[in-house]
């Protein structure tokens, strides 16, 4: 059985080396101690109340041995842990910088050329990347198991992650600092693209890099966007009220707003709520949703609305 996730960055094999090293030391020590424990229990089992036992209280040789060996092992483990950590935290030359903003419960990524994505990070393979991260509210933590990198994200200051992805593909991002009721849904994806493909994506030439095929029905595209764009963190599909209203039965339902007025959740209302979520606040919910203006194009919004219509 596999005990480590995919290894997809230059740092990953280094972390794995330390993990293997300590695992081997631990397993050997455990077997040694476990063996001695059981061996002594069997060999020196009590035979009668009059068993004679020697009053051994010291043994300089043994005591030196079990002080020196653990000390040496600790030094070795420290050094490997330190050297690789040092390499990981050193700012790479010509690093490609991407800004990351965390907010309950969505990750936003800003690229050097002004492009912006939500819940999905695109990076070129085999190029040093530096994430410059900050939080708009509570603590979060950016964790990509496949890259073996993790860093807390804090308000009012910046923290950093350096990595070079070595494998193309799609990898999960977890938030690993507890941040409230949707903490475990605060996920994102990293897409590692070949450099040329990445440049195309960045310049907007290939509008759709995601695996949404153009011949997919609209509601299926909407379903994909629901999880890719972070809607899933706050809006349930089963009628349970989360941070935001459930999407189940939402289409054409009567919504009562905080100012006392009400309206039916038709196509135009849904579109307005996606682009300007603060305009019409439904009673019982807080103004926490970010605006998706510029993050979803018109076709994508239509797809989401079509998807909501199917949730009866």
């Amino acid at each position: 059985m596999n005990w480590l996730p995919t290894s997809a960055s230059t740092f990953a094999p280094e972390v794995d080396f330390v993990l293997w090293l300590v695992t081997i030391i631990s397993v050997v020590s455990c077997i040694l101690i476990g063996f001695l424990l059981i061996y002594f229990v069997i060999k020196y089992k009590k035979k009668s109340d009059n068993d004679q036992t020697p009053a051994i209280t010291h043994d300089s040789f043994l005591e030196t041995l079990w002080t020196v060996i653990p000390t040496i092992l600790c030094i070795v483990i420290f050094i490997y842990g330190y050297v690789y950590y040092d390499r990981y935290t050193t700012i790479p030359e010509n690093a490609y910088e991407i800004n990351v903003t965390a907010k309950k419960w969505i990750w936003t990524f800003d690229y050097p050329n002004g492009k912006k994505t939500l819940g999905e990070l695109y990076v070129p393979a085999n190029k040093p990347i530096r994430l410059v991260m900050t939080s708009e509210d509570v603590l979060h933590s950016f964790f990509v198991p496949a890259f073996r990198v993790k860093q807390d994200v804090i308000g009012n200051r910046y923290t950093f992650i350096n990595f070079t992805a070595t494998k193309e593909g799609e990898f999960v991002v977890y938030c690993t600092e507890y941040c409230g009721s949707s903490h475990s849904n605060m996920l994102a994806k990293v897409h590692v693209l070949p450099e040329l493909e990445y440049l195309k994506w960045e310049s907007g030439e290939s509008a759709k890099t995601s695996k949404i095929a153009s011949d997919m029905p609209l509601d299926q595209i909407g379903k994909q966007l629901y999880s890719d764009k972070g809607c899933v963190a706050c809006h349930s599909l089963d009628g349970a009220a989360g941070v935001g209203p459930s999407w189940k039965g939402l289409y054409n339902a009567k919504r009562v707003f905080t100012d006392g007025t009400s309206a039916a959740a038709d196509e135009n209302y849904l579109k307005e709520s996606i682009l300007y979520p603060g305009e019409k606040m439904v009673e019982g919910y807080g103004p926490v949703m970010p605006s998706y203006k510029g993050l979803l194009d018109d076709a994508e919004i239509t797809a989401l609305i079509e998807y909501i219509k199917t949730l009866k």
């Binding site: 972390v15 300590v22 002594f40 005591e63 842990g81 935290t89 600092e177």
Partner: protein, 533 residues
Amino acid sequence: MSQSHSFDKSYLEDGTGFKSWFFTHDHKRLGVMYLWAIGIFFILAAIASFLIRFEHLTPGQTIVDAQTYNVLFTLHGAVMVFLFIVPGVAASFGNFLIPLMIGARDVIFPKLNLYSFWVYCAGAIIFLIALAAPADTGWTFYTPYSIDTGANVILVTFGVFVLGFSSILTGINFIVSIHKLRAPGLTWDRLPLFCWAAYATSLLQVLATPVVGITLLLLIGERYFGLGFFDPAKGGDPVLFQHFFWFYSHPAVYIMILPAMGIISEVIPVFSRKPIFGYKAIAYSSLAIALISFLVWGHHMFVSGQSKLINIIFSVITFAVAVPTAIKVFNWLWTMYKGSIELSAAMLYSLAFIFLFTIGGLTGLFLGALAADVHLHDTYFVVAHMHYVMIGGTVFGLFSAIHFWYPKMWGKMFDEFKAKIAFVLIFIGFNIVFFPQFILGTLGMPRRYFNYSPEFATLHQISTYGTWILGIGFIIMLYALLRPISNKAEANPYKSASLEWAMPSPPPTLNFEKIPTLTASTYDYGTKLEQEA
């Protein structure tokens, strides 16, 4: 409230009714009451953990919603830490044993001791009231979440603040008692290792607890008056809170584990009929661990955004604390060498402690190594590591103590056979619950996650099934302990050389009719060999 000065009545028979207990100055009665109290809170917090594990039987919602789950893990952690394991062995067995072991009639400040217990009760009541609007912050109360959340954080943290005083006052009492009340001939190098451990623990309680008290007051100030020390929106620094919090909470880890190590050092020699191996190494390593433990708090914060240099320094010191711990394990092991080993229930728990604590300690090396911690931090690996130390270590130590001193405490004998069945179930169940969590952690499963991806389901399910075995083990253990098979215990059924066994079981209220004079070590077992002496 009248204190009998006769020595023919045991402390349990000396007065009955609520008042005779709640106003007692007797360290033994206070120890027993602490034991009941921590036992009840252990069960409460354990029930929360069973619900947490049940929730993880399937990805997504199984029995509770996300918010309830967050409340459950906060409740589990906060009750286990502040009401069970921090007072834990020190307040219960420390109170019961220290005066007996040092040859005294009570602790040096008996009234203060009673007051400590009342403060503990007050803190516990505040905690229980706070359950009406339970906090959802996790037991660590990290800012700014704990400033923003709508849940009732003030009452819980105030409860912890009050409990801190109980801890400080008990610590002072033990330190002074061990300095001033040792019987003639009980020199420092003859002092039982449990007392050494309790002494080191008390130092930590007195020196570290005020810091968490002040921190939690600041947090209350943040919420109530909007102070802004920790709130980034006001220019504060949330990481500062973590520094303050772990400056207490890391030494607190040793407040939890040191007394258990003391118990192991008492139990193993008795059931091996051997003097403890390396007495001085164990005694001094307790102090060394206590001192170094003040300097490693930053290893909880390797990915918090603190500076790289600080991380490297904390990593070095963390590895330094591993060495005295390893020395202790080998000393206990070698105490058994050429002994006459009896596998009583108490001894089984102590042996399990050595093995499980070794796993807990070794997995700490993963987390101390910087590069590995970046991957493992805040995953299930940490959860598993911490439970191997806290359950495999402290709780197994406590269970060993409950079985070992049972005849002395209650004057009764329990059924060893039933207790051993319970041990087997608890040992197996514990490992099934927590070992898979190491693998969940290396695979990248974050902690405090209500929802998880289906690839983790099998390991989560195995872990949940383990809790059922563990639970059955707990119930059988309770049954064995609550249904004694004999109402007459000998003064010294296990033939221990330690002072607390040199009196009837249970002891009379004032312990010693005549204060004893010691002429030998408390670990006076076996035949002295010429060359070894």
